[in-house]
Symmetry: C2
Subunit: 191 residues, 2 copies
């Protein structure tokens, strides 16, 4: 396990002293997931927090019409939505899927909750991750409610450069709240 790589992702959110890492690193497990695999299933029992080292993942749901709705996208070197935000009574509220082959580490969410109580640095780190998640959600709410699909596409390109060439367009479209046909039309008028 490459500790330097992991620490570098963690410190994108807030700084952790070497002493604090000790206990944390012990609990880590590596995890590789191949393209197209759901590694967390809605209504399945869930126990972990996840950090993506490389690869692209998404959370999604099936809506009442049977269509997949992409809720969030996660790229290289990011932390997945915190456990608390995607779990009710131990069961996942969302599906999480690897869009490309993905390398992750995972660790026990309950152990981490305890670590947050005891360790101020990890408490702040956890809060930073949570705030980031919420800021993304609020931003998306505003965009979905108040700007056009074309503007959302521009913002998507800023937020996730390269994703447009790396992941299937129906996934991007469902993230933007439009059909893939509409996405193709918008691409034509903006390239």
């Amino acid at each position: 396990m490459n500790e330097v790589e992991i620490k570098s992702v963690i410190e994108r959110y807030s700084a952790i002293s070497p002493a604090s890492y000790e206990e944390f690193l012990k609990g880590l497990e590596e995890l590789s997931v191949s393209k197209g695999t759901d590694f967390i299933r809605k209504d399945g029992r869930e126990f972990y927090e996840y950090i993506i080292l490389d690869g692209i993942c998404r959370s999604y749901l099936i809506n009442p019409s049977g269509d997949e709705v992409t809720i969030s996208l996660f790229g290289d070197q990011s932390v997945l939505s915190p456990y608390i935000t995607r779990t009710r009574e131990g069961l996942s509220t969302l599906n999480f899927q690897a869009i490309t082959d993905t390398r992750m580490v995972k660790f026990s969410a309950s152990d981490f909750e305890e670590l947050m109580v005891q360790n101020l640095e990890f408490r702040e780190w956890g809060n930073e991750v949570l705030k980031h998640e919420l800021a993304m959600k609020v931003s998306r709410e505003i965009d979905l409610a108040s700007i056009t699909a074309k503007e959302r596409l521009f913002k998507f390109r800023e937020l996730f450069p390269m994703f447009e060439n790396l992941i299937p367009h129906p996934i991007i479209a469902s993230y933007l709240g439009i059909t893939n046909v509409s996405l193709s039309r918008l691409r034509k008028t903006t390239m």
Copy 2:
């Protein structure tokens, strides 16, 4: 201060033993806000958590086009979005406004954070409030991204019965992600 009333709102989220209340109740302040008043301003310094005893409030933002976008609605006997979800570096990320005359209690967010560390019941309560907030956000994301405005109106009526007759329609429209003219059109076809 009517402790029974306050406890009844709190226990809508999770149970708290009488012993745990002791310290909590001491820190409460009452607050009355009249219709139309912003009681939290975006980019203003913020310190409190809020519980609405009665009245209707909303969070909103001004988008780049200068339009108000309603993010969330809060009715009688509910807890406002937790501090952590609406604050960055001590400054509010959203405006909060009383849509009708509103009676609330507020308490220090930092004291409460400390209480959560020390008291398991309030930790669970805080987590329940947070999960509820997130569940609402995910639900809204899905709806904005994948169902029509007409369907969102039906869901709004289920989630907030009576609000349609109590608050201005431009606010409802901006919550649904449409114009007030479109809302009026939808109302006509569905009543």
